[in-house]
């Protein structure tokens, strides 16, 4: 998650993370019937929704962080 104050904008990281994130969304929704079935079996299958949200929070979270940086929306350097 790049939040450096360097002048170069992390466009490359944004595009890569965005593509992985988009692919994850497409994959999930293409298989929504299977996914909803498997994810709601309860018991040990609880691991699936938990791991999935961790995956999305890392991938999509990194994309969002880089995107904001590319748009020049960054935290104040000294608070």
């Amino acid at each position: 998650m790049a939040t450096t104050t360097s002048k170069g904008k992390p466009w490359g990281k944004t595009v890569i993370m965005g593509a992985i994130s988009l692919a994850s969304y497409i994959f999930l929704f293409k298989n929504e019937q299977l996914v909803t079935e498997v994810y709601t079996k309860g018991g040990v299958n609880t691991i699936f929704p938990i791991v999935t949200v961790f995956w999305f929070s890392f991938v999509h979270g990194a994309f969002a962080s880089n995107l904001l940086e590319c748009l020049g929306i960054e935290a104040k350097s000294s608070h």
């Binding site: 709601t40 609880t46 904001l68």
Partner: protein
């Protein structure tokens, strides 16, 4: 980053270890709620054949006369809510004699994803995320009812929202930890004690439910909600206004100073929050937060003011630390709802798609505003949400027979006041955050240019 990940992993491992004991009495769906498929409907006897998920057990259930057989969804995954048997424990209804297994409601578990629903979920995720990143607690109070009005069954809405809350809180906590605002140690101590508090809160609620029934329980929740929101929200608002006007300096309150002067060992030092407090003060604050969180379902409305006014933490650190608490509580809750198989991951990831952007925007917004702005946003949200809950009270009083019945139209008006005031709360908060953030950013740019 390494330190942050190690803290999270340690926590997850310990949660897996303690989880079975916690689940025994923990929050989660009602045991009278069955998940599975309706195999066939017999209009002659008003019964239907139902196959329970996971166990594949087949049950014959009675559906109410008000339900038309053609409206009953066959061969789709549904949630069936059984009428709770008087004097019985939760979950006993499914194993009662067949003539006593009466259905209260049937809901289709997975709603069809239309474009409108997708956009609506992304929009509420964005605003909820923004709020969460800024004040530490993020609009679960409006997300769950909004998801229900989109057609999701209540239990699925709660479960999916809970599962979206903790990764969002994790990303927000990480950002604010990087800005030097989140006190991980304080967050973990508060969260663990809050989990204990949640158990006590649930026990109290169960006792009230057994004594006064559903309407009594709803009234109790509403009264606690109103008292807490009006008093705490009002106090935070007065404090924020005095600070904004400059009639008061930003300093540690008298109560917090008294609490910090109680030197009963073990004393704990919290580095980022820059306080040293006795565990005998920290733990009760956490437990009380959990107890109230179990009752009003919005822990942040208690946790953040508790950290500010009882422990003496600044608003910016308190709201950041609340994200750590929200992560732990959300993770614990999600495991329980996941075990019951009620998380609709599609709803969760759609909420996350925009809330992960919103939460980071809200988090960085805190670096541009003064401490009182966080208090102002929190207080405004709390007071408007109080209006929403207040509008529900007449309905509960009628249900209890403590008030003359009111017309259906009046009840509908009150319901829409309740829902739209929640939307207003979220909208107002988002507006204040964006205006304050843009102002702060512009002032900063001008400052650096000059």
């Amino acid at each position: 980053m390494k330190k942050f990940i190690i803290s999270i992993l340690t926590l997850l491992v310990s949660m897996v270890i303690i989880c079975p004991s916690v689940i025994a009495g923990g929050a989660g769906p009602s045991k009278d709620l069955l998940k599975g498929e309706i195999l066939s409907v017999d209009p002659a006897s008003h019964t239907l054949k139902f196959r329970k998920d996971t166990t594949d057990e087949e049950l014959t259930l009675i559906y109410p006369e008000s339900m038309k057989p053609e409206d009953i969804p066959v061969n789709r995954k549904v949630l069936v809510n059984l009428v709770h048997l008087e004097g019985a424990h939760e979950g006993e209804a499914a194993h009662a004699a067949p003539e006593m297994r009466e259905i209260k409601s049937i809901e289709i578990m997975f709603l069809d994803m239309t474009i409108v629903r997708i956009i609506a979920l992304m929009a509420i995720g964005a605003v909820g995320g923004l709020l969460s990143g800024f004040i530490g607690s993020g609009g679960a109070f409006v997300m769950t009812p909004a998801m229900m009005s989109l057609g999701a069954p209540g239990a699925v809405a709660v479960a999916s929202n809970m599962c979206h809350k903790f990764p969002k809180a994790m990303v927000g906590a990480y950002k604010r930890w990087k800005y030097g605002q989140a006190d991980i140690k304080l967050g973990l101590v508060m969260a663990v004690s809050a989990i204990v508090g949640v158990q006590i809160g649930i026990m109290i609620q169960k006792a009230i439910l057994a004594a006064f029934g559903g309407a009594g329980s709803n009234l109790y929740i509403s009264v606690v909600f109103l008292v807490v929101l009006i008093f705490v929200g009002g106090y935070v608002m007065m404090d924020a206004i005095s600070l904004a006007k400059g009639t008061k300096e930003e300093k540690v309150g008298t109560l917090a100073l008294k609490m910090q002067n109680i030197k009963i060992p073990p004393m704990i030092h919290f580095k980022t929050a820059n306080i040293t407090v006795s565990a005998w003060i920290t733990l009760p604050v956490g437990i009380l937060t959990g107890m109230l969180a179990a009752t009003i379902a919005v822990g942040g409305f208690i946790g953040v003011p508790g950290l500010i006014y009882v422990l003496g933490v600044s608003a910016v650190v308190a709201s950041a630390t609340e994200l750590v608490i929200a992560f732990v509580m959300g993770c614990w809750g999600s495991i329980q709802w996941g075990l019951a198989g009620l998380i609709d991951i599609r709803l969760t990831v759609l909420l996350l798609s925009c809330s992960l952007i919103g939460v980071q925007l809200g988090a960085l917004g805190t670096t541009y505003v003064k401490d009182y702005v966080i208090k102002l946003v929190m207080a405004s949200t709390m007071l408007i949400v109080a209006v929403s809950r207040g509008a529900k009270v007449p309905g509960y009083l009628v249900d209890l027979g403590w008030m003359e019945p009111i017309s259906d139209t009046a009840l509908k008006v009150l319901d829409s006041i309740s829902f739209w005031s929640l939307v207003t709360a979220l909208g107002t908060a988002a507006l204040i955050i964006i205006v304050a953030m843009v102002k702060g950013m512009m002032a900063h740019k001008q400052g650096t240019a000059a």
